[in-house]
């Protein structure tokens, strides 16, 4: 079977033929006749400039195809064709392009949510799997900074310059990094997934860069590769992946974020997005962040600069000599009343990210906290998850 392609299409039933996309497209990939506005698959480079300007949302449509629809075919459309089903793929969604192994990794990471996860209602629509193993995007290392002051915990903040390559990532999405070389069996390495730690408009607004938070694992092929990168090195990345662990765009939403270690990456992205996007009052954010000590807590310095009014911070240490040992679940229980109020608030969205070990403790704490307001945690959690308000990614 030929390689599958992703094609940008426009829904003729929803489009009102205002031609704003056509005028916005910087490379002339969009044209129209009396019937339809259509995208030329040979020209479109997925730069996404046309997406925000469309007044209808009809522009945000994609099909996975073997053979792209021609302009002539698109001009004849009265409605969008169904996504074709391919013989070797069970599901005919965006997932078609997602490598089954990557899909498995994502599902594995989200297993702690306890069931089928839905994205927040007001989340932006993510772009998925623009770059696959056969067509990775090449990005250049712009910086590689050590975030911790603890030799046993080497956590890096790595910034990639993506140049002119469009890589539209949303906060909470992950990208895959493909380490060079082969495994002991002589096969190319699999990709490893990392949450981006920057908001959608870049590490710096308007700069085309993305950042990752990576902890060196002594035996980890990919983490050692990443942590040892130097400025100017070229890295192959794939993705973006993930369509549920996303933040609500609704400024009134309250984000309750619970994380440890590099699980702070998406929380950092969420916080920066809020700082940049929400001008007036917001629903607020609460962070429970666990580490061994201040020295091994990534982003300890920058966090101190985020005002408490935006982000209510609880930094929790398990090996701080000056304090009794505490884990995030302990701190959750210390704040039982405040957290209980958050749990019953329909504007609260919960995000849990970090080491799998934390899950059990957090579950126990949440069960206690929920019962404080007479609720059964499991029911509450399942309801929140169905509403798109409960998200877990652990590893």
């Amino acid at each position: 079977m030929n390689k599958l392609l992703k094609q940008h299409v426009i829904c003729p039933e929803v489009c009102i033929r205002c031609y704003t996309c056509e005028m916005t497209c910087p490379i002339g990939a969009i044209e129209h006749d009396d019937n339809n506005v259509v995208v030329n698959a040979d020209i479109c480079n997925f730069c996404m400039e046309c997406i925000p300007v469309c007044p209808t949302g009809s522009i945000d449509e994609w099909r996975v195809v073997q053979e792209p629809y021609s302009l002539e075919a698109q001009y004849e459309w009265m409605e969008l064709p169904e996504q074709e089903k391919f013989a070797d793929s069970a599901e005919a969604e965006d997932k078609n392009l997602v490598d089954p192994e990557i899909e498995a990794l994502l599902l594995e990471a989200q297993i702690g949510a306890g069931g089928k996860v839905t994205p927040p209602k007001s989340a932006s629509k993510p772009v998925i799997a623009l770059y696959g193993m056969e067509t990775p995007a090449q990005v250049v290392v712009q910086g590689n900074y050590c975030l911790t002051d603890d030799p046993d915990h080497d956590v890096r903040h790595i910034i990639f310059n993506v140049g002119d390559t469009p890589i539209p990532v949303l906060e909470g999405q992950t990208i895959g990094v493909v380490p060079p070389g082969t495994d002991p069996n002589g096969k190319p390495h699999n990709a490893r997934l990392y949450s981006v730690s920057n908001p959608r408009d870049g590490e710096r607004p308007g700069y085309n860069n993305i950042s990752l938070t990576v902890k060196r694992d002594e035996k980890g092929v990919c983490s050692n590769y990443l942590c040892d990168l130097n400025q100017g090195d070229v890295v192959n990345i794939i993705g973006p992946f993930g369509s549920t662990f996303l933040m609500p765009d609704d400024p009134a939403a309250h984000l309750l974020m619970i994380c440890t270690g590099t699980g702070s990456a998406p929380m950092r992205a969420f916080t920066m997005r809020r700082q940049r996007a929400v001008v007036g009052a917001s629903g607020g954010m609460t962070l429970f962040f666990g580490a061994r000590s201040a020295g091994s807590l990534p982003y300890f310095g920058p966090l101190a600069k985020v005002p408490q009014s935006l982000l209510n911070q609880h930094l929790v240490y398990s090996r701080d000599e000056t304090q009794p040992k505490q884990y995030v679940q302990d701190r959750l229980l210390d704040n039982i009343e405040a957290v209980a109020n958050l749990l019953i608030n329909p504007a609260t969205y919960i995000y849990i990210c970090g080491l799998r070990d934390m899950e059990a403790g957090v579950e126990i704490a949440m069960t206690k906290i929920a019962s404080e307001s007479g609720k059964n945690w499991k029911d509450l959690r399942d309801q929140m998850r169905t509403d798109g308000r409960y998200h877990v990614e652990t590893y």
Binding site: T20, N35, V53, T56, K121, A123, D250, V279
Partner: protein, 482 residues
């Protein structure tokens, strides 16, 4: 806040270096209080105080003009934004074809240019005035938000034209800018300049028809002005077009959703005859024949906006490079039209005949023909919805001779097919073609506000998709409850 405290650089998002331009800044400082008081007097107070989920343009790149947030309308940041200057842009039409585009007003065309900007500018506040009371009967918070989005952007378009007048036309430019706030839609003494902008917008179906037909005309006019050899006008209009798209969206989907509610209700109650008007109206929806009548009215009014079919003014504007044709750069001809001809329908001996006239004088007609083609696209889509529901009915654009006040057809009476008929016959039949007082009363009886998030009036279907990826039950307006 006194006017001295207004920091125009932060108050007015702009990419024209406003803070350095003392002259324009001074003129705007004088004009701005009048504008704010015009706005405050216009829109009912409870809406001025409400938080509306609006899109504000803060810059002209695609990401900069789609910033959504809750704002109170009087605090909306009306910006002055021009599309980026294209290097070495040349005049795209007329006798100066190929010469460098003017960055300053060419003296010989000063008055013509000013008049064109004034007419365009006058329509912008006109439509806000026409729609001022619609907020009170919004069929949902979603629709209310869309109305206010259209209103604030028409307000911004007025700013855009006022900026050009103040920047490039000196004292009389400033006077013209002031007059924009003096004239008022439907006024006896000082009406708006174009007829369609003095008509009432009594109900939401009229609003949707207006934003479908009249804003689509507005878009065509802007497209032609975007072809102007006067570069600041071209750049201003190019950016305005991008906002106009949302207004057309409101219109096309608004009419579509009205039709959808009707055919769904008919099907749910097993009504197959769309002309069984009383039965359909009993369901709290607007019957298709009445929707067709509204369409006839608004379409014919919008055709009048194109002016005389054969016009020396239009010829002069094209020939001097002040105003181009729709998509001028895509038209494959010499862009001068010195010897070309164009077919125009006209009346000769009480008959409609086709006549070949110099293309230069038929500029208006050509734009109108382009408009008719463009406008029929949405009608086709509405018909597909009706057909899909299995209802036997087709919406149609009436003939261009029908119900005209301007141009050759204003002299005669024609039915919707374009057959010329006697005045007597017209008087007898017009109730079948145009909304009657009874139709208006019925529609008015449905105009009851729905202000709970996710609630929609009986006569209109919820949207397929919300604004800014938000769901239909999002609280698009946080109403101020006094």
């Amino acid at each position: 806040m006194t006017i001295l405290d207004v920091n125009y650089d932060s108050l007015i998002p702009n990419n024209v270096g406003l803070s350095q331009d003392r002259k324009v800044l001074k003129a705007l400082e004088k004009w701005h209080p009048g504008y704010i008081s015009w706005w405050n007097d216009l829109i009912p107070k409870e809406f001025q105080e409400s938080m509306v989920y609006l899109r504000t343009a803060v810059s002209v790149d695609p990401k900069g003009w789609t910033k959504f947030d809750y704002v109170k309308m009087p605090e909306y940041r009306w910006g002055i934004l021009l599309a980026p200057q294209k290097e070495e842009r040349t005049i795209p039409c007329g006798e100066h074809f190929g010469e460098p585009a003017w960055q300053e007003v060419p003296g010989e065309y000063r008055n013509m240019l000013k008049r064109m900007i004034v007419i365009q500018g006058d329509t912008e506040p006109g439509s806000v005035e026409q729609q001022r009371f619609l907020g009170l009967t919004a069929p949902s918070l979603y629709d209310m938000r869309n109305l206010f989005q259209v209103n604030v952007e028409e307000g911004r378009h007025l700013w855009a034209m006022v900026y050009l007048l103040q920047k490039y036309f000196g004292k009389d430019g400033r006077e013209e800018a002031d007059d924009m706030l003096v004239r008022s839609s439907g006024s006896e003494e000082a009406p708006r300049m174009l007829g369609a902008f003095n008509e009432e917008t009594p109900d939401w179906l009229s609003f949707f028809m207006f934003t479908y037909f009249t804003d689509r005309d507005g878009k065509m006019q802007l497209e032609s002005l975007a072809q102007s050899g006067f570069d600041p006008l071209s750049r201003t209009c190019r950016f305005m077009i991008t906002e106009e798209a949302h207004h057309m969206f409101v219109g096309e989907t608004g009419v579509g959703r009205t039709i959808q509610a009707t055919i769904e209700a008919m099907n749910a109650h097993g009504i197959t005859d769309p002309y069984d008007i009383n039965k359909v109206r009993d369901l709290g929806v607007i019957d298709l024949p009445t929707i067709q009548k509204k369409l006839n009215l608004h379409y014919s009014l919008s055709l009048d906006l194109f002016g005389q079919e054969v016009s020396t003014n239009a010829a002069n504007a094209f020939n001097s490079g002040i105003k181009g044709r729709f998509m001028e750069q895509r038209i494959d001809d010499d862009h001068r039209l010195a010897s070309d001809t164009y077919i125009v329908r006209t009346i000769k001996d009480s008959k409609v005949v086709a006549e070949e006239v110099p293309a230069l004088t038929a500029i208006n007609m050509r734009l109108r023909d382009d408009y008719v083609r463009d406008a029929s696209g949405g009608v086709g889509r509405w018909n597909r919805m009706i057909a899909k529901a299995g209802v036997e009915f087709e919406m149609r654009l009436p003939d261009e001779a029908f119900h005209r006040q301007i141009g050759v057809f204003s002299e005669v009476n024609a039915d919707t097919e374009g057959n010329l008929i006697s005045l007597e016959s017209w008087e007898q039949q017009k109730k079948n073609w145009l909304p009657t007082k009874g139709d208006g009363d019925y529609i008015q009886s449905l105009m009851k506000p729905c202000v709970k998030p996710g609630e929609y009036a009986s006569w209109i279907a919820p949207p397929r998709m919300g604004i800014d990826n938000k769901p239909g039950d999002f609280e698009y307006v946080k109403l101020h409850m006094a």
